[in-house]
Symmetry: C2
Subunit: 449 residues, 2 copies
C-alpha cells in the first residue's frame, strides 16, 4: 500500500499537452508540485511534454516504476494494465471512468481480472485517486487555482465520491484544516474502504480517519476492520443514501447498493465508529476527536463574554444530551472574589463585554481545577473592547496540559477568523456555531465511552 503514497517513481499514462485533459493536470501536479520523486510521461502521440521526454509505453521506461497513474479512455485500460504487468508495476491509480457507474459492468470485470492476472493492486476505477499532503503525491485532476489543497496535519479522508472528496479538500484548505492523506477510491474495483482504513490505522501521522461511503462492498469485513482499529484511532463515517430515496440515487451513482438507515447506524456504533450526518460535521468530529483528550463525564462548563451566545450554547448542549456542570462552592467563591460585579459566576460564566484576557485566564484556570467540570466550552467574542488578541495564548497554554477537553466557539468575521486559525493550528478545535460545537462535544463524549 505504501507505493500509493510514497512512490519514488511515477508513470502518468495519458499525460497530455491539452490543458483541459485529466492527464495534463495530473502530470503537472507531479512535475511542478511538491512531489520529490521522479515522474514519467506516457503518451504514444507525443515526444515531449513541458521539457520531459514522453514515452510510447511504460515498457520503454528504463527505471523501475513504483506507481502508474492511468488517465486514458476506458477501452484502452486493459492494454495499459497488461503493459504495467509486464513492466513489473505493482500499484496503479485508475482515474478513468466509464465502467460500472454507467452500466458497463462487463468492462469493469475485465479490469478486475486483468489486475489479478498482472498482480497489480489498484485504486479506482472512476476516482480522483490520492492526495498526500506530506509526500506531494497528487492525482487530482482539478487544477489548484480551482481547488486548493490542505496543508500537513493529522486527518485522513477516504471518499467513495470524487466530487464530495474534492470539494471537501477545497473547503478544508480554505478553513485552514490540515490533513495527512486523501483517497478517492471510486468504484473500488480492487482496493476498497476497508483496505484503506486498515492501512491508515497504522499510519502514525494519521490521528483520525474520516470516511464518506455510499455503498459498502463487504459489510462484514468493514465492520471487523473498523472495530479492530476504532479504539486506538477515531473513525468518523458519513453514509450517503440513508433514506430510501437517497439510496435509490446511490445506485445510479456508483452502482452499489445502499441499505437501511438503522442497520448502518447500529453497525457503525457497534464497530466503535462515530457517525456524522453532514460533510461539515465529519470534520467537526474529526478535529475534536483527533486533538482532545477523552472526557471523564458529560458535565460542561461554559465561559463566555457574550451572554446571548452562552444561552444558545446552553440550549444546544442540553439538546445534545450533555449536562451543565455545577461548579464547586470553592470555585464560585474564588471567582466572585476575583471579578467585578459585572461578571456572572454561574454556568455559563459570563465575563460580559467588559472581559479582559486576564479574566479569561482566571476563569479557565479555575474550571480546569474544578472536579465538578469534565469539559470546557470557551466562547470568545474577540471583538469586545478590552480583550487583547493574546487571549489566544491563554487558551493554547491551558490546552497544553490536555487535562480536559477544550472547545472554542467564536463567531464573527475576518478578525475572528484570523485568531481562530491560530487556535486551530495549535490543535484547539474552533466553531462558529454553538450548535455544531455541542454536537462535536457529544461525539467526543460518546467516543470516550
Amino acid at each position: 500500500m505504501d507505493l500509493f503514497f510514497n512512490p519514488k517513481t511515477v508513470a502518468v499514462i495519458g499525460a497530455s499537452a491539452h490543458p483541459r485533459k485529466v492527464g495534463h493536470v495530473i502530470f503537472r501536479n507531479f512535475a511542478e508540485g511538491p512531489f520529490r520523486g521522479k515522474v514519467f510521461a506516457v503518451n504514444p502521440g507525443a515526444d515531449e511534454l513541458f521539457g520531459h521526454k514522453c514515452y510510447k509505453s511504460v515498457l520503454d521506461i528504463k527505471e523501475r516504476i513504483d506507481l502508474a497513474v492511468i488517465a486514458i479512455p476506458a477501452e484502452a485500460v486493459i492494454e495499459a494494465l497488461d503493459e504495467c504487468g509486464r513492466k513489473g508495476i505493482r500499484a496503479a491509480i485508475i482515474v478513468t471512468s466509464g465502467f460500472k457507474e454507467i452500466g458497463n459492468h462487463e468492462l469493469e470485470e475485465e479490469v478486475a481480472a486483468s489486475l489479478k492476472k498482472n498482480r497489480i493492486r489498484a485504486i479506482g476505477v472512476n476516482c480522483l485517486g490520492v492526495y498526500d499532503a506530506y509526500s506531494g503525491v497528487d492525482t487530482m485532476f482539478l487544477p489548484s487555482y480551482k481547488l486548493e489543497r490542505p496543508g500537513k496535519g493529522g486527518i485522513a479522508f477516504i471518499s467513495q465520491s470524487g466530487a464530495v472528496g474534492s470539494v471537501v479538500l477545497d473547503w478544508m484548505a480554505m478553513m485552514g484544516y490540515k490533513m495527512t492523506k486523501f483517497i478517492s477510491y471510486g468504484n473500488a474495483t480492487d482496493i476498497d474502504e476497508s483496505d484503506l482504513i486498515d492501512y491508515l490505522a497504522e499510519d502514525p501521522k494519521t490521528k483520525a480517519i474520516c470516511v464518506y461511503v455510499e455503498g459498502i462492498k463487504d459489510g462484514r469485513r468493514f465492520y471487523d476492520i473498523a472495530r479492530k482499529h476504532s479504539k486506538k484511532k477515531p473513525i468518523v463515517v458519513l453514509k450517503g443514501g440513508v433514506t430510501e430515496q437517497g439510496s435509490a440515487a446511490v445506485s445510479s451513482h456508483t452502482g452499489s447498493l445502499a441499505g437501511a438507515k438503522e442497520i448502518y447506524a447500529t453497525a457503525f456504533r457497534q464497530a466503535g465508529m462515530v457517525q456524522a450526518t453532514d460533510v461539515e460535521q465529519v470534520f467537526d468530529y474529526a478535529r475534536v476527536l483527533s486533538t482532545q483528550p477523552r472526557p471523564k463525564g458529560r458535565r460542561v462548563q461554559i465561559i463566555t463574554d457574550g451572554g446571548g451566545l452562552g444561552i444558545i450554547a446552553t440550549d444546544w448542549l442540553i439538546k445534545n444530551g450533555m449536562e451543565m456542570a455545577k461548579m464547586d462552592m470553592k470555585t464560585i467563591a474564588e471567582l466572585k472574589k476575583q471579578f467585578t460585579s459585572y461578571a456572572v459566576v454561574k454556568n455559563p460564566i459570563d465575563l460580559t463585554g467588559a472581559a479582559t484576557t486576564e479574566w479569561y485566564k482566571t476563569a479557565i484556570g479555575a474550571a480546569l481545577e474544578d472536579n465538578n467540570i469534565d469539559m470546557l466550552m470557551i466562547i470568545v467574542l474577540f471583538q469586545v473592547p478590552m480583550l487583547t488578541p493574546d487571549v489566544v495564548e491563554v487558551i493554547i497554554e491551558a490546552n497544553k496540559e490536555r487535562r480536559k477537553p477544550i472547545i472554542v466557539v467564536s463567531a464573527g468575521g475576518r478578525y475572528s477568523e484570523v485568531l481562530k486559525k491560530s487556535l486551530e493550528d495549535a490543535g484547539i478545535p474552533t466553531f462558529s456555531s454553538p450548535a455544531r460545537a455541542s454536537e462535536a462535544m457529544r461525539a467526543l463524549y460518546d467516543y470516550g465511552r
Copy 2:
C-alpha cells in the same frame, strides 16, 4: 421611530478622546463614517474632539437635535435625560449598561419614569443600538477593523443580545449577506421587540425581519403584531433559552423570564413566524424567504454535477419532509436526447464531472417547465473541468422569472466562494451544505402554506 434611523442631527453624549471608550468609537462612526447628517459631541470635560467643538450639555447646542446617543456611566443617565427633555429631543439610544441586567432594577425604573416624564422614546438601556446600512447611523461601539459592517440589502435584524447581534453582523459582512437595519435593544426599558417589528414591517426596504429574543416583554402584543405582519413579510425568530437550563441562563443575562420550549414554538407558528434553532439558520431562512417565490408544493428536483452531494442532499430533503419530484415522461425523454450517456436523468439529475454550462442551462430550463416540479435545488461544483464561470449567469437568468424557488448548493473553497457571492448579490440564496439548504427549503415551504 424614524428619528432613530434617519436623523438629520445627532448628539453623542459621552463622546470621548480615549480610543477604548464607547463614546469615542460611536462619535467617530458618525463623524467619519457614511452618515450624512450633522453630529455634535457632548462632554463637559473636553473643548474639542477631532476638530469638532465639544459641548458641555445638549442644552448648549443651538440646532434642533433629532437623536441623542447616550454613552455615559449609569448614574449620570437620569440627568442627561432631563437635559434631553428640556432640549426637546424625542429619541435616545442609551448604550449604557449597569441596570436590571446586574440587579439594579431601581435605577432602570427611574430611567423608564424619566423617559415618560420627558416624552422621550428610547432604545436600550444596555444595548449596542442601531446600525442602518442605508443612512449610515451606527452606534455600535466596536471599531470596524474588529467588527465589519454588512452592505445594503433587504434583511433587518433585531437582537436582544448585543453580543449575538454584533458577531452576526461581523459574520454577515464576511459572508457577503446584505441588510437594511440592525437594532440591539438590550433591556427594552422603553422600545421593545414588538415596537421594532411593527416599525420594520412597514419599512419598504426590509424584505425579511430576523429577531433574536431571550425573553419577550409582552407576549400577547408580540403575538398580535407578528400575526398582523407575517403574511406580508416573513419574520424569522430565534429564541434563546428554550431549555430549562438555557432559560436559567437568560435570567442572569437580561433579567427577563424565558418560558417553556413548546409554548413558544406553538405561539411562533400560530403567529405565522418561522422559528430557527441556530444563528446561521436565521439568515439561511431570511435569505431564502426574502428572495424566493412561494412554492406550489414540496416536490424538489435536484440538478447536480457531483453524484455524492446529490445523494447527501436527497437524504436531507427527505429528512426535512420534502418530496423528490418525479419528472414528466416528456421532460425525461427530452433530456435523455440532449445529454450523452454520462449524465443520469433521474432525480437527482446527475450531470457528472463532465458537466458544461450548456448542460446546466438545458436541465434548469426543463425543470422550470415541468409541472411535476415545485422547487429546484441546483448543486454546482464550479471546480469541474468543463464548467465555465458563466454558469452563474445561467442561474441568475433562470431566477429572474421567479417561477419556482431556486436554491444553490456549492461546496468548496475560495474559487467557489467568489462565484457564490455573485449569486447572492443577484438574490439567489447559496449554501455550502445540503443539510442547511434542505432546512431552508422546508422553511420556505412551511411559510408558503
